[in-house]
Assembly symmetry: D2
Homo-oligomer: 346 residues x 4
Amino acid sequence: MIIVMQKNIDKALSRAVEARIRELGYEPHVIHGESREVIGAVGDERGKMVLQSLESMPGVEKVVPILKPYKLASREVCPEPSRVEIKPGLEIGGNELIVMAGPCAVESEEQIVQTAHAVKRAGARILRGGAFKPRTSPYSFQGLEEEGLKLLAMARAETGLPIITEVVNPRDVELVARYADILQVGARNMQNFALLKMLGQLDKPIMLKRGMSATIQEFLMSAEYILAEGNRRVILCERGIRTFETATRNTLDISAVPVLKEQTHLPVVIDPSHATGHVSLVPSMCYAAVAAGCDGLIVEVHPDPEKAASDGPQSLRPAAFADMMIKLKLFADAADRSLPGVGGSL
Amino acid sequence: MIIVMQKNIDKALSRAVEARIRELGYEPHVIHGESREVIGAVGDERGKMVLQSLESMPGVEKVVPILKPYKLASREVCPEPSRVEIKPGLEIGGNELIVMAGPCAVESEEQIVQTAHAVKRAGARILRGGAFKPRTSPYSFQGLEEEGLKLLAMARAETGLPIITEVVNPRDVELVARYADILQVGARNMQNFALLKMLGQLDKPIMLKRGMSATIQEFLMSAEYILAEGNRRVILCERGIRTFETATRNTLDISAVPVLKEQTHLPVVIDPSHATGHVSLVPSMCYAAVAAGCDGLIVEVHPDPEKAASDGPQSLRPAAFADMMIKLKLFADAADRSLPGVGGSL
Amino acid sequence: MIIVMQKNIDKALSRAVEARIRELGYEPHVIHGESREVIGAVGDERGKMVLQSLESMPGVEKVVPILKPYKLASREVCPEPSRVEIKPGLEIGGNELIVMAGPCAVESEEQIVQTAHAVKRAGARILRGGAFKPRTSPYSFQGLEEEGLKLLAMARAETGLPIITEVVNPRDVELVARYADILQVGARNMQNFALLKMLGQLDKPIMLKRGMSATIQEFLMSAEYILAEGNRRVILCERGIRTFETATRNTLDISAVPVLKEQTHLPVVIDPSHATGHVSLVPSMCYAAVAAGCDGLIVEVHPDPEKAASDGPQSLRPAAFADMMIKLKLFADAADRSLPGVGGSL
Amino acid sequence: MIIVMQKNIDKALSRAVEARIRELGYEPHVIHGESREVIGAVGDERGKMVLQSLESMPGVEKVVPILKPYKLASREVCPEPSRVEIKPGLEIGGNELIVMAGPCAVESEEQIVQTAHAVKRAGARILRGGAFKPRTSPYSFQGLEEEGLKLLAMARAETGLPIITEVVNPRDVELVARYADILQVGARNMQNFALLKMLGQLDKPIMLKRGMSATIQEFLMSAEYILAEGNRRVILCERGIRTFETATRNTLDISAVPVLKEQTHLPVVIDPSHATGHVSLVPSMCYAAVAAGCDGLIVEVHPDPEKAASDGPQSLRPAAFADMMIKLKLFADAADRSLPGVGGSL
């Protein structure tokens, strides 16, 4: 932390700040500027947030944090990229580009099994589908809940694809964990710390979505909640942030990919469906995400989007998904990523 | 909903859209424009969100929602302002301006009881204090939990002030409800729908804070979750939204007060402490909020901000709070609001 | 500037940064942290931006600016509030609250003269009206240009009200200055530096509107452009910033008032009409702005808003404006501001 | 336009709105909903903005625009992509991916000529360099002005690369046009309509940068200003928008590429340097932009970034630029774009 003192003030105020820094267990270090003093506080980084309260002391103009407040999520602690194993032979964060696909919500056995076969055929390695749906309106379809989980498990049994599905209530963590291969935390729950702590105690991979207005630093702090409880299998997912632009549902923050790659060792996945909200924009955002260096994609696919219970306008039909995968292979090659099972004969 | 068709397309596509609108239980109504058709869908408002999926049909350019998706929260359903009773003789949403004050977090018996006496003396009618603290960092102080609730109850017993405190986990709703007079939903949990649904089943007032990047419409949809479960005692709280500006912690959306007053019957409270993040900005934002027409304020007060476990820089000292209340009385008078127990002898 | 070095790097990299700091004319000051070095650069503040380029040197993690980059606009240089004289006996920034009112665009002699009389009667001290209109669409009404300036001068001659009007092209500065008492820089031109420099050479008051997405610091840097050329009569105007919220045209950043009051000596005016975009929200935002401590208001008033050439939905009718002024007087009193000529007999 | 009436109002109010719609030259078309009327206004699209003023009429809840307000920029008017010729054999918007590169500011003959040779060797087809620099601070380097233009012309003479440079003042349009092959409008001037109108009268290509907080629709309206004056050679440039995220200078809105490609026929270029502000993020954003479908890139390259007069931290060194170009070729191939002169022997 850097404590910036006001201009031309009584030196006694600076001395009081120095004393308080020492009291809190840090070492003050004064720089005498032309017209004001600036005090650095040296010491263990993790507890430094308490220094923020110095802003209330007389004579202090502001307190500027210098270091990142996360630790386990940081590249400095773990310089090598983490690979998160989903099942033997399938990991996210390695050389293979992992595509997860499926409907926004599980609606029926036919819908989910048919979609699972279709996305598998096109090269997806993981099946997505929501059983617990957080919806803006209480009058919207809220998901099939445990019934939906059972249908997902059925689709897995038929296709061999592992399943990723969202959990929204700490109470349901155990239930969802019985069925899912990866538990997803949605954007609205990125700072549902009670949920994060419970997931940190599981022995299952967690995909954490960035909150709609979360900074990258806050995103990593939420990952830190899971990591700090002992679960190191965390996958990050950028899914668009809220901005003033209304042409897209959200604004895909594509530069979050290289920023995250610099700051953290955790794998990074992109969700172009929620980011854009329009199916016509999804393929080009898949290509861009891979070119930017992401480790995977999660894409909404629905056999009949105009009848979807939710998110129809952003869901690809299976044929369009298959076409996208073939073109994606070209970009995966350019990015030096493998995408097995796609476009083999090209 | 208004369905805008693409320009110069085959009429058969429009007819298919009309058929699908009927299938979903609505009545299509076509406007023939100069170069395209626009189709209105008439019928019950609440289920209309399913019409959004028409955007996936061929020939559709976009689907534009026309009406508000909330109902119980709306002025159209309940034209008179609601008054939420906290205890006999104390309600939010009536003529009296209600000020809630206290520390961000409950830290000790001495701290909370001393603060309670001080804020009561200055004219506050409700004591605030956090026992469960959602913190960005897992390494920050997370609150005293049930011990904190007990200390709040002790402060209430000593001063007679009802207490408001946050609940973050659906699991704790019953516990918090045993102690609190008002349960608060924090900004990070505005779309924690599992929590909202449980609170909707309580017989206690709920103060719902606006999410950092929630639109006013989404804010009202979250209120609707509580109302739809049967609990009509909902208080709304604007606490700043996230913008590009960094001079303040958040940007207080003061115009949300008159917008909410037009759209909903629910009372509106302002939190200037979280909105600004700097104590020097809090008093003027209290005055502005009252001038804008809010029903109450919730203000952070701490006896020793530079030693606060959280949010020190935005906490008023008791003396500064008392000064603010005296000046606030002038603005309450101008707004034709009573503020009993303040500045009587002026 | 604070230069943060990367963790555990070769000390030679830090020494190179120190050398470069000296080369640029500053004094380096090293703090040895637990795992990295942090280097402060001490010296003249204004040129410090060149230090930002150190971020390109090997081993540098980031460069953090500590001080404000403006000088003439700053409270530190000029601790007393500035009063900007408009004409003898009329100044902005003194005890009197100054209300400017009039139509968005000058449309006809009848319209502007009639409005001028009406707003004067209600207590406005300055007449606003646009002759050069920056419009988003090339197909929208672009203003009457010099003809509009002449009509404004006519309205001034009839009522004695000084006039404020916008200038958008450096070429027109001289022309507009021949007619206007205050020249306005619109939000879209806040960083039109060629225009700002020319206005800095005038002997006329300038009202500078904050850009739609300008930080407060950038806003003050734009004021600095005018001040640095020698014109010290600068008035700042907050008119709403762009956010994700769509219920209002922009989001009025009301906390900008106390922030600006802390950082600068320049007077601050609020434009509630452009900030909200809806006439029903304007009066409460006027009251809030005064309670927050602004020095003046600029309000759109039109005799016939549904026939206005621009901004009808946000223009008050003269009668509504007069009602607002009477209630505003109560808030001006509470804020200890005079508002002569309003509600005298109440 | 769609005019939404309030609920349960006197039908006479709707009839008055209908009459006013006819008066303005449109045809009203009423839809009778369950509890309110909705009125469509049919007629010529370009003048429709005047209908917005109906929002001031009694009984009107809101006015919703349905159609795009631009025309010449629109795909509907010009379905085929436009190719903008820079010189014989060099066009933007065709199959070839065009890379423009060079320093933020022209600083000296040596700097610009050396950079020109380096970027040409690496495969750039156009040289960028600023002679007139709009800078946030009046105390920052403001560019070499005409001297800078001469140095650019010298670099062109030496290398044959056409030059692109910014113009900020309508007064300088003629001067800059004498030297430049493409005139650039910077983000801060996107709504400097006086400048846009003058550029619309030139017979030179114009590259228009998106404003920091401009919606895509506003961006296209600014292009429309140039097109409407007769200059059809407009190139659009996305360079990052302002959001709450601070890890990057701005947020690159990568989805703007496919959105623009759907809505307009004009070519789209990406500026990853200003968008990110950090050199380490530039290459991956170049790859992503090409994958997303852009027609070109504009990249900052400086021989000695730590000594750059501006934007050092976001400028690639020539060697890093050359490396990036070689990898870019792979993504250009995947996107089926040619990039002649790069990586030929790979």
